[in-house]
Structure formats: C-alpha cells, structure tokens
C-alpha cells in the first residue's frame, strides 16, 4: 500500500473514481430534471438514447436465421415483455441493400420507411415522426452487426424507464470505452505527478531544515515561504512545537544549573566538617566521596554553561599543551597521595587548538581522574598531547572491553553497581567535546589498560 501513500497516486485514484461517478451521475442529476420539464431537448435525447440503445439491443436478440438463409424477427419472451411495458414500441429490421423488411417487423414502420430505405445509406440517425400524437416519442435507425450479417434496424416509441440506465451501466465498461479512457488517465497521472512534485518541492528543503534541528539549535524555525498553503498549518504547528520544546529545554537547563549551583554550598560545608573528624581512615573515604560529588556538580555546571553559550560564538584559540599540562600538574598531588604517578608528554612547541579552556580543562581532569583510578597502585598514568591536537590519557588497568567502548559514554553507564560515581563523567565529557566539534573515544593501551583520547580542531 506504499504506492497509495503518494499524493500523486492518490490524486489519480480519486480522479478516476470521481470522474466515473460524475460520468454516470450527470445524466441522472443534471439532465433528468430538465428533460422531464421538457426544457432541454438535447438532454432528453441523451436520456432517451439509453432507452433506444436498450430497445435496439432487445431487437438484435430477436433476429433469427432460417435454414434457407432468410432472416426474421422472432417474438421472444423478452420482446413480448418489453412491448407490454411500452405499448407504443415499434421495431423493424431490414436488408440494407434491398431495403426489404424482415418478417416480424412492425408494419407501420415499414410502411413509413419502405419507399426510402433502398435509397438510404444508413449512418445512424434519431428521428421523430411528425404525425405521431405523442410529441415525446423518439426513434433511431442504425446498422447492427449480427453473426449472420449486417442489417438495418429501426426502433421507435419506447418509453424512458429508470432501469434503462442500469442497462447502460451494465454495458458501459467495454474495451472501447476503456481504451478511450486510457490516454485521459495517463494525462491526468502525469499532471498529478508534475503538480505534486513541483508544488511539494519546497517541502524537501523544509524537511532538511527540520532534520538539522537538534537540542542546540532549537531556536531555529522552518520558513513557510514558497510552501503550498495546505501544508502551512502543519509547518506552523511544527514551529510551535519547537518553540514549546525550546522553552522546556531552556527551563530544564536553568533548573540543572541552579540545582548544581545551590548544591555547591552544602558540599563545601560538608567537606569542611569532614576535615574536623578524628577517625582517619573513614575521614579519608568520606572526603573522597565529597570530592566526587563536587566533581559531578562542577561537570553539570560546565555543561549548563556550554549549553547557555551555544555553538554560535566562535571558539577561542589556545595552546593545548599548556592547558593540559596545567590541569595535569594540578592533579598530580592527588595521584601521589593515592600512590600513583602521572607523567606528561608534549611536543616542545605549542599545540594550537580551538575550544573553551574551561571545557577542555574539565574533560582532561575527568580523563586523568578516571585513569588514576584505573591505574594499579605504583603505576604511572601517562598524559600525552600530540601535535595533531589530540590528548591521550593512558592507564594500565583492566581496560575497557570492546563491547563497552561506545556504551561508556552513555549517561549513567557504570561497569557494575559497585563502581563508584554516577556514571556522568564520560557522558558530560563527550557532550563537551562534541560542542567543541571534537571527538572522544577509547582504545586499548598496548600491553593492557585503557587509553582515552580526545581530538580537537587544530586552529
């Protein structure tokens, strides 16, 4: 049914159905009232035409051939019944070359025409006999083809009955009519195709525009310019929907940013209070937990910040090596405390990249923290900046199974229930890096472990 979903094919189907209906309905609806009022003689003749056709059809079926080759009109049951309904019905069949009427023809008609028949070439004609007392009587003279030859036929005086239209309906779908109808259908199909294609063309660019809209470009709207007025309400509705989504998303972002901001103070207070505790091992653990919560909050804030600034503003240029080195140096004491070391490698010349410093810092901090946590005690985490504006954080821990290498960047993904953290760090990192038009991925460290890499645009 896919074909019927195309607007052009629907147009063609509707057109065919409705035009057929109209074709059958016009005589009944438009011509009949005129005909009965006797106003439109043409309309009357058209209606009567079906009566005449039916009458001739009955007459044709009465023609019989005798063994000597002679033809006669047999009084069949059908003819008798028809005559009973139409008392004034007269009929005749004759040999067109001699004009001689066949046996069984109505005598009055033969008398009327016999003098002229040999001198007429029958092309088909409707007529009314002026001396007839009924002014509405119509007749027709016409050639017919039978299995035993071509003959002239005359029918006259049949009354119009509604079931004559049924007869016509029954005989309408002939091959000839179908052939006559075909070019018309083909033309209409072509017109429908052209009209639909041409007029819905602006829809394609509109669709492309809608497809481009994502969470960061919710302020964009689809122009209704050049669109057919029928689809404008739809486009308007889409635009309104986008406006509502835009508002909702903005509200949600504000909510996240505000929540994260509000939570900063209690966390800071918590950390100060923990410092005052005496129980050393427990104190250390609670302190670390508080640190984690704070990190997540900071990440959420960073994300809210980058969303607010949007992608429209051009990104500043910075020295990636310097930025990453500063972040690595900051994290070193924490790693040392935990019994891990951090090494840094970078080219001796600056590595130019475009991006927001605070965003890159946030991501790098997250990667180093993850790497330091994965690194076995006594090991060395390597942070490496390459000239092509990529940063790698190399650890020698358990590594990331190939099946998980995409999933770990999903929000709230954790390896297991016991894994610490909310599972937001990498998701936020990915979000940030993509905002900077960069890429983040994980590889395997040669010899075992995970190597997280980010690549940024070189400027």
């Amino acid at each position: 049914m896919k074909l019927l979903r195309s607007l052009s094919s629907r147009l063609v189907v509707y057109w065919v159905v409705f035009s057929m209906l109209a074709f059958f309905m016009i005589p009944a609806t438009a011509l009949l009232p005129l005909a009965t009022l006797g106003i439109d003689d043409v309309g009357y003749v058209r209606l009567e035409g079906h009566t005449v056709k039916r009458a001739r059809n009955i007459l044709m079926r009465t023609l019989r051939q005798r063994s000597d080759g002679g033809v006669f009109v047999e009084m069949t049951d059908e003819l008798r019944a028809y005559k009973a309904r139409n008392p004034d019905f007269r009929y005749a069949a004759f040999d067109p070359t001699t004009g001689a009427a066949f046996e069984g023809s109505s005598k009055e008609l033969i008398d009327y025409f016999s003098a002229e028949l040999p001198r007429l070439e029958i092309l088909g004609a409707n007529f009314h006999i002026l001396t007839d007392s009924n002014p509405k009587s119509r007749g027709s003279i016409r050639m017919v083809r039978t299995p035993f030859g071509r003959f002239g036929t005359i029918v006259y005086g049949a009354q119009f009955h509604w079931d004559d239209l049924l007869f016509w309906l029954y005989h309408y779908p002939t091959t000839a009519n179908a052939i006559a109808y075909l070019p018309l259908c083909a033309t209409i199909s072509l017109v429908a195709l052209v009209v639909v294609r041409k007029n819905l063309k602006p829809m394609r660019s509109s669709a492309a525009k809608v497809a481009e809209i994502d969470l960061n470009s919710l302020d964009q709207r689809v122009s209704t310019e050049g669109l057919p007025s029928e689809v404008v309400p739809f486009v308007d509705a889409v635009n309104t929907a986008f406006s509502r989504v835009d508002d909702g998303v903005a509200r949600q972002r504000r909510f996240i940013a505000n929540s994260a901001h509000e939570l900063r103070t209690p966390i800071a207070i918590l950390r100060t209070r923990v410092d005052k505790l005496d129980d050393a091992p427990l104190k250390h653990e609670i302190k670390r937990d508080a640190q984690r919560i704070q990190t997540i909050l900071e990440q959420l804030l960073v994300l809210a910040q980058v969303e607010e600034r949007g992608a429209a503003a051009p990104m500043p240029e910075l020295d990636l090596a310097e930025t990453v080195l500063a972040e690595t140096a900051d994290y070193t004491p924490l790693a040392l405390n935990a019994g891990r070391r951090i090494a840094f490698e970078a080219p001796s010349v600056p590595v130019a990249a475009s991006g927001y410093k605070w965003a890159i810092e946030s991501v790098v901090a997250n990667l180093i923290e993850n790497a330091a946590r994965a690194e076995p005690a006594g090991g060395v985490v390597l942070v490496r900046v390459a000239p092509d504006a990529t940063v790698a954080a190399v650890d020698h821990g358990e590594g990331v199974a190939p099946a998980h290498r995409e999933m770990i960047f999903e929000p709230f993904w954790r390896k297991s229930e016991t894994t610490p953290g909310a599972g937001l760090g990498l998701a936020i990192a990915k979000e940030l890096i993509e905002r900077l038009a960069g890429r983040i991925w994980v590889e395997e460290t040669p010899g075992g472990g995970a190597t997280f890499k980010i690549s940024l645009n070189k400027s």
Binding site: A326, T332, L336
Partner: protein
C-alpha cells in the same frame, strides 16, 4: 647550599604539596636572561635532594616526568 639550590627550594616550598612546572622553576632560578642547559635543573634538584637527605629534613622531592617537581613531607 648554593644560591640556585636555595632559590629552587624556595620555589618548591612556596607551592609545597603541589606540582611546580619545569618552566616555572627555570624562570625562578635562572631568570629570563640566562641560556639554560637542558639538565641544569635536573642537577640542581639532585644536589638539593642530597643535601635535604643529609640534614634529615624529612621532606621528599618527587620528579613528575614531563611536568616538574613537587616537594612534600616524607611519607615514611
């Protein structure tokens, strides 16, 4: 203790417990004018380490490869 070692110790102590970058240390010790040999800093640090150990200062200078140095109280 030489002037350079003293400057080095001061620079590290001012940021005790935190990493002090190579570039920072070099500019603190040698200033901006001197042409510094690649391993001059390394030699200064190893001399300082020895001295601190000899006098039992109870501090440790960690080498942070690619980053710089960090001074903190000995863990032992």
């Amino acid at each position: 203790m030489s002037k350079r070692e003293l400057l080095l110790l001061e620079a590290l102590m001012r940021r005790a417990g935190r990493a002090v970058k190579h570039s920072k240390l070099i500019s603190e010790i040698h200033g901006l004018d001197d042409v510094v040999q690649a391993d001059a800093l390394k030699m200064s640090v190893s001399r300082l380490r020895r001295r601190l150990k000899d006098c039992g200062a109870g501090v440790e200078i960690h080498t942070l490869r690619g980053i710089g140095y960090l001074i903190e109280r000995s863990r032992a």
